[in-house]
């Protein structure tokens, strides 16, 4: 089952050279993953490489269609903590 890059991709190129299966290619508007080539990095790396470097939460879906980097996972601030974190930052 393949990972999938969706339209929130900002075309930063970071994932493309990391893919051990060379499954990532530049599509029209953003990067895409060739579902026939993607191995989920099984046998190559512990974590899927595209997911591990992608800077955009939600831009890559796992094989079950769920965001591989869900909201708050890359900022380090869980959604429910957002208001408190914002208040703390604005007090600086």
């Amino acid at each position: 089952m393949s990972y999938q890059i969706i339209e929130s991709c900002v075309t930063c190129h970071a994932c493309e050279p990391l893919c051990p299966a060379r499954a990532i290619y530049r599509a029209d508007r953003h990067f895409s993953i060739d579902a026939n080539k993607c191995t989920g990095c099984d046998g190559d790396y512990a974590d899927p490489q595209c997911v591990s470097i992608c800077p955009i939460e939600g831009a890559i879906l796992d094989p079950s269609g769920v965001a591989a980097n869900p909201p708050g996972s890359l900022t380090g601030i869980a959604p429910e903590r957002l208001p408190a974190a914002m208040a703390e930052i604005q007090a600086r």
């Binding site: 900002v10 470097i53 800077p55 955009i56 380090g76 604005q90």
Partner: protein, 501 residues
């Protein structure tokens, strides 16, 4: 929320020694060897004096990044913003080489080519080194430099040295992982994403190792730090001490740029940037330990032209493809142009020196006076040659009884030239006046009637009497005049309040 990183700050630096560049702190530069001075004397990003005379460009060949900084938005494509990490078009190494040769033929002041993003150049080693390798063959007179977050720097020191890259900028915002965790949410390390304090600790260790390795090889390293109030503002003095001990020759403390519309984590969360005064105070405190750079313009990762100037539009790939260029003739022309610049700088040095003595004389003959900040409109060449209304940034100088020193620059249309539709109701003039807060005079070649009146009303005296004169001597002359008219006396507390209001 999408977060990201733009990478690096750009390039800039200061060490070329002139009256203003050193000012009261000329002793700080005395430890620089003649060899280092030679390396920086025509680098606009490393030498404050050189930035009046020489141009630089960045080519955006490096999109990928291996860390996330909270002040960076990885969606880097914006034509209206001018700040690190933003570019209009991404280039292949082949396109980059063609663009550099075209720019270097059209702008003979060009002395430096840097790669600064929009991601991290060393996270794109093939693209970055391919560009450098081909340029060093085709335009050997152009200095090459690179700016990095440092994460993979130790792995690339050999390659950098092989290609004669003798200027490297590392963005180091902290040497303490707890502070790092507030700036860097993750790094990509050994094929895994490492979050929080652990990731920050890896980054810091790699940066420090890379810095020490480059210094040991004799490569000039400038350290850029982003000043983030409430996060690392109290910590950057220590950073200054540490990087100096490890061999950095210049420290550039830059203000955080964080606006909600930039889409960065800090921007969206409402993290504030420092005020001009906070920045200047920190730079002054760090200056006790380190050569400080104050003329950084925080330019785009595809900037073209003199610092503070954006000529990228003239050299988009579509136009570059049409240009016919005689590379040999262009290189010859650059050599002649640079020789003329050097002759001119030499002449100005003597001119400034004379004025300088005159200012010092004031101190002996008169009562004690206070330092005064003045803004200057200059489009380059080290002289006052810009119409007030054309200035997009002002140089700020501090005149005191003992010297004239460069303090920094103030951008007018803060990092965005989007114009009316950006929704900022404040008029351009009001914005300029706010940007010049703390200055008591503004020197320009000409100025219109309306801005003259409003500046005067705001306590900033416009002055168009020194058009085409070297900046330092003009600032000294205006200070001289202020002293004679009793305008530079120490203020009483009540006067200070009134002026501050």
């Amino acid at each position: 929320m999408a977060l990201q990183l733009i990478g690096q700050a750009t390039d800039d630096g200061a060490a070329g020694c002139t009256v203003s560049g050193c000012g009261g702190s000329s002793a700080q530069l005395s430890h620089l060897s003649a060899q280092i001075r030679e390396k920086v004397h025509n680098h606009p990003c490393y030498s404050e004096d050189a930035h009046h005379h020489y141009a630089r460009m960045h080519v955006a060949v490096a999109p990928a990044c291996n860390i996330q900084c909270h002040y960076c938005n990885r969606k880097y494509d914006c034509a209206n913003e001018s700040r690190p990490g933003v570019v209009s078009e991404l280039l292949t190494p082949d396109q980059a080489v063609r663009k550099v040769l075209a720019v270097a033929a059209a702008i003979p002041q060009m002395s430096v080519l840097g790669i600064a993003g929009p991601g991290d150049p060393l996270a794109n080693p093939e693209r970055t080194f391919e560009t450098f390798r081909r340029l060093s063959e085709k335009a050997p007179d152009i200095k090459l430099c690179v700016s990095t977050n440092g994460l993979t720097l130790p792995d690339h020191v050999e390659a950098l040295c092989r290609l004669n890259i003798d200027h490297v900028t590392i963005t180091i915002n902290c040497v303490d992982a707890d502070i790092g965790a507030m700036i860097y949410p993750w790094v990509f390390w050994n094929n895994r994403r490492v979050k929080g304090r652990k990731g920050a600790a890896i980054l810091i260790e790699q940066q420090q190792r890379g810095l020490a390795m480059l210094s040991a090889r004799g490569v000039l390293v400038k350290v850029n730090s982003v000043m983030i109030p409430g996060v690392n503002d109290q910590h950057l003095e220590e950073v200054s001490r540490v990087v100096k001990a490890k061999g950095a020759f210049l420290h550039n403390v830059m203000p955080l740029i964080a606006e909600a519309e930039h889409g960065t984590f800090y921007g969206v969360m409402g993290q504030r940037g420092p005020t001009h005064t906070e920045l200047q105070r920190l730079q002054d405190r760090c200056a006790g330990d380190m050569n400080m750079m104050r003329h950084c313009r925080q330019c785009r990762a595809d900037a073209v032209g003199m610092l503070g100037e954006e000529r990228g539009d003239e050299f988009c790939m579509e136009k570059v493809e049409q240009m016919e260029i005689d590379y040999t003739a262009a290189m010859q022309q650059r050599a002649e142009y640079h020789a003329a610049i050097e002759a001119n700088r030499e002449a100005q040095k003597h001119h400034s020196g004379e004025r300088f003595v005159a200012v010092s004389a004031i101190k002996r003959s008169q009562r004690e006076t206070r330092p005064v900040l003045m803004a200057v409109a200059s489009s380059g060449g080290g002289v006052i040659n810009q119409h007030f209304g054309h200035a997009r940034a002002f140089l700020v100088y501090e005149a005191s009884p003992t010297d004239v020193r460069f303090i920094g620059h103030r951008k007018v249309d803060l990092y965005c030239s989007g114009g009316e539709h950006c929704g900022d109701a404040e008029s351009t003039l009001a914005r300029i006046i706010r940007a010049l807060d703390g200055c008591e005079a503004v020197l320009c070649s000409r100025i219109g009637y309306e801005p003259w009146e409003q500046l005067e009303a705001a306590g900033i005296q416009p002055n168009g009497e020194h058009a085409m004169e070297p900046i330092e001597s003009a600032v000294a002359a205006v200070y001289d005049e202020m002293v004679k008219n009793g305008l530079a006396e120490h203020r009483t507390p009540s006067e200070r309040l009134r002026i501050g209001a």
